[in-house]
């Protein structure tokens, strides 16, 4: 059985493979790249296009393994989707962890407050964030199966990466999507850990020379749409080095796409011509290329940018502009990566009373402030840094992070040389599969957060006041995969015949709370998640309205998801609490 590593990314997905005597390596993905054209690309853009037959003919979307298709994922979906934004699903992964919508409902392409889009849809197909993710995964599976007839993907070991900040619901939904896509044996892995495994795979045993006990490695992952931080601590474990993931950051919707947009806005301001939407998009692409040149080593003073006219007459219709190095540096290096103190906190604009529902984009574009806040929260300064994500290819941005980390810590930090920044997560996932078979060092970590169930305190009702809520720690931080925690008996009950709903909380900074600890629900570091619920049917001696006394059990599955169980104290029955994915106010 081989190991398939899948990076299910916000803007790009990638595939890698490893085996018992096969080091992890990336695989290209066959996909539709133009009308009726199929070619291999290193990654699969995570875009889903759902056109009508008048917009794209199904024959133009067929794949080597399919007949005519009514939808497309990948390069052509992204390109043609720019012209059909009302049919394009993008950033499905960010929707997968957005609790303000029902993540299993067919809400994408997202309409939001744009009423006119509703009309443009004309009843066209909509999908749920889970289903969109499933289609990307299904494409990867079909591409694999097409190339490996004797080794169907459903019979291989599959690792799918998720952001470290994904809550238990988003993790479970990712597993649901993978099953829907036809992957049977799925295990989840956090992306920054995957990036670190890719580094371990690339360095071989030499990593033991790079790092020493006491080192703390910051994994700084800035991708197209999201930014993710993790800390990994190196310790001495009976003479050999061990690794433990000690902290993960929040889900920050901020990445390279924001930078390209910002740069293109500046360039566009200096143009004397109005650009139509497609030319604007061409400009954003041009700005991304300019960014890569201007933030590299030996950058030119400026990069010319040309936007071709839309008609068949090119010469004379080209719009010329240039991006100056100082503009790019001011905007991207100082705007997105400003020099800030170690005590900086990200700015949160007060949200308007009536906010358009959508993705909770980060308000503060300063990635370094988010970073300072993350490090400050855990109180441990990194001694080394591992970069990941396309944005971190830029020398000047890496340089700024290294410089700031050095200033904050008062000493130099070491930069770890990892694998290809676009493919590292997929490579690392495949390598982790081999590590699980006993080949190489494993990063310990367990659950990134501690989880709590809300319990309303018993007190007389006071009009206008909700009863205060206590939080019972059901799963302490650092619970390893495959382990189970049984909670001491508590006065907890499920009402027969009714859906019992429990509020559900998580905390990333409360490592000291043991299972069974009862704290205030609004204590420091607590964040509320979607509620969990269970309907116990009336059956046998249980009559509707009866209260079944239960105790709680938390189980971290081998897959990497968190399950909460209620066990009847009389020994008659066990029920799994379900995550509610209904819309939340």
């Amino acid at each position: 059985m081989r190991i398939i590593g899948i990076d299910l990314g916000t803007t790009n997905s990638a595939l890698a493979v490893a085996g018992d005597d096969e080091p992890a390596h990336a695989l290209g993905v066959n996909q539709v790249v133009g009308p009726g054209e199929i070619a291999e690309r290193p990654t699969l853009p995570s875009f889903l296009l759902l056109p009508t037959e008048n917009e794209v003919s199904p024959a133009q979307l067929q794949l080597p393994w399919s007949g005519p298709m009514r939808y497309a994922v990948g390069t052509f979906a992204r390109e043609r989707g720019a012209e059909l934004p009302h049919r394009l699903v993008s950033s499905a992964k960010s929707w997968l962890c957005n609790p303000s919508i029902d993540r299993t409902a067919q809400v994408l392409p997202f309409r939001g407050a744009q009423r006119e889009l509703d009309e443009a849809m004309q009843g066209g197909e909509r999908v749920s964030p889970v289903n969109a993710s499933a289609r990307y995964l299904a494409h990867l599976r079909a591409a694999w199966d097409d190339a490996h007839e004797d080794e169907p993907a459903s019979e291989q070991e599959v690792l799918v990466t998720v952001p470290a900040s994904f809550d238990p619901v988003a993790r479970e939904l990712t597993v649901v999507a993978a099953r829907e896509a036809g992957f049977e044996k799925v295990t989840l892995l956090e992306e920054p850990q995957a990036a670190f495994y890719a580094y371990l795979a690339a360095r071989g045993d030499a990593w033991r020379k790079d790092l020493k006990p006491g080192d703390i490695v910051l994994v700084c992952d800035v991708g197209g749409g999201t930014t993710d931080f993790s800390l990994i601590e190196v310790a001495n474990d009976g003479g050999t080095l061990s690794l433990e993931r000690i902290a993960v950051g929040d889900h920050i919707l901020l990445g390279g796409d924001n930078m390209d947009l910002a740069l293109s806005a500046i360039v566009q301001r200096d143009l004397d011509k109005q650009l139509d939407p497609l030319q604007q998009r061409a400009l954003v692409h041009a700005c991304r290329r300019a960014k890569e040149q201007l933030l590299g080593d030996d950058a030119p003073k400026s990069v010319p940018v040309a936007i071709l006219g839309r008609g068949s007459k090119l010469i004379g219709g080209t719009i010329k502009a240039e991006v100056k190095r100082e503009t790019a540096e001011a905007m991207l290096v100082d705007g997105f990566f400003p020099k800030v103190g170690a005590d900086a906190k990200s700015e949160r604009r007060r949200t308007a009373g009536l906010r358009e529902m959508g993705l909770p984009y980060a308000h503060d574009p300063a990635i370094t402030r988010h970073l300072a806040e993350f490090i400050g929260r855990f109180g441990k300064m990194p001694t080394a840094v591992l970069f990941n994500g396309g944005v971190m290819k830029a020398d000047k941005l890496r340089g700024r992070i290294v410089e700031l980390l050095g200033t904050w810590a008062g000493r130099d930090v070491k930069v770890l040389e990892g694998a290809d920044l676009d493919l590292a997560v997929a490579l690392g996932a495949a390598h982790y599969g081999a590590v699980r078979r006993g080949k190489g060092v494993r990063i310990r970590g367990g659950t990134a957060r501690a989880y709590y169930i809300g319990i309303e305190s018993a007190m007389p009702a006071i009009p206008g006041f909700a009863p205060p809520v206590k939080a019972l720690c059901v799963a302490p931080q650092g619970l390893e995969e495959g382990s189970t925690v049984e909670l001491p008996d508590d006065e907890l009950g499920l009402v027969v015949g009714e859906t019992s709903t429990f509020r559900f909380f998580a905390a990333a900074t409360r490592k000291e709370d043991p299972a069974g600890a009862l704290i205030e629900a609004d204590a420091q570091g607590m964040a509320e998640l979607d509620p969990v619920e269970k309907l116990v049917e009336a059956e046998g001696e249980r009559k509707p309205g009866d209260m079944v006394p239960v105790r709680l059990e938390a189980h971290v599955t081998e897959v990497g998801t968190l399950e909460l169980w209620c066990v009847a104290r009389d020994g008659h029955g066990r029920w799994k609490l379900e995550y509610s994915v209904r819309e939340r106010e």
């Binding site: 133009g34 009726g36 054209e37 070619a39 024959a59 040309a306 068949s312 010469i315 219709g317």
Partner: protein, 197 residues
């Protein structure tokens, strides 16, 4: 599979390389020996027998298509790629008469970038002859005249001494798109109509 095969054949023929075996059955009688270079060794004798081994009922599925037709599909698909990524046809079809060098240059920069991307994505090139242009080189004995073109009079037997004027290009790897059937390749760029919103 046919259009894909056509594409492969087109490029192999274009770059003077051996045809894939699967293509041989589409060739008119007698064409096989001519098209396969001698280097291919034993293959030419075997290939013409192949159609006879095929089951009879399968024959109608694969009608004989003139090779020119295959060339056409592959060439049009490549042209569509160059047009889509680099506006190649627009640029070359446009008139440069009276246009300023600055205007031509501005457009050319983008056309160059796009066409270059197509080449980089799909084809791997290497010089046919190593060495720097404008420097002295030696043409070895037994060289292939299809690979090295001698300019001027060759006296006596190889090796010959001369100046490398152009190092030549060889496509060492062609990863061309697979072409889906039922798509009209003659439309290398569709008309674009923007709807009023």
């Amino acid at each position: 599979m046919h259009p894909w095969l056509a594409f492969v054949c087109f490029f192999r023929i274009l770059f003077g390389r051996k045809l894939p075996e699967a293509a041989v059955e589409f060739l008119p009688e007698g064409a096989v020996a001519k098209l396969l270079p001698e280097k291919a060794g034993g293959k030419p004798e075997k290939a013409p027998e192949k159609p006879a081994e095929k089951p009879v009922e399968k024959a109608p599925e694969k009608p004989k298509v003139p090779i020119a037709q295959h060339h056409r599909e592959g060439a049009l698909a490549l042209l569509a790629l160059l047009q889509r990524e680099g506006r190649f046809v627009d640029f070359v079809r446009d008139s440069v008469e009276g246009a300023s060098d600055a205007d031509i240059g501005a457009a050319a920069r983008e056309v160059h970038r796009g066409c270059r991307k197509v080449l980089d994505q799909h084809l791997t090139f290497e010089p046919v002859m190593p060495g720097n242009e404008e420097e002295k080189v030696s043409v070895p004995k037994g060289f292939d005249p299809a690979e090295i073109r001698l300019i001027g009079e060759a006296k006596g037997e190889a090796p010959y001494r001369g100046t490398l004027r152009h190092h030549g290009w060889r496509v060492v790897d062609a990863k061309l798109p697979t072409l889906a059937e039922g798509v009209d390749r003659a439309v290398i760029a569709p008309a674009e109509v923007e709807l009023q919103s």
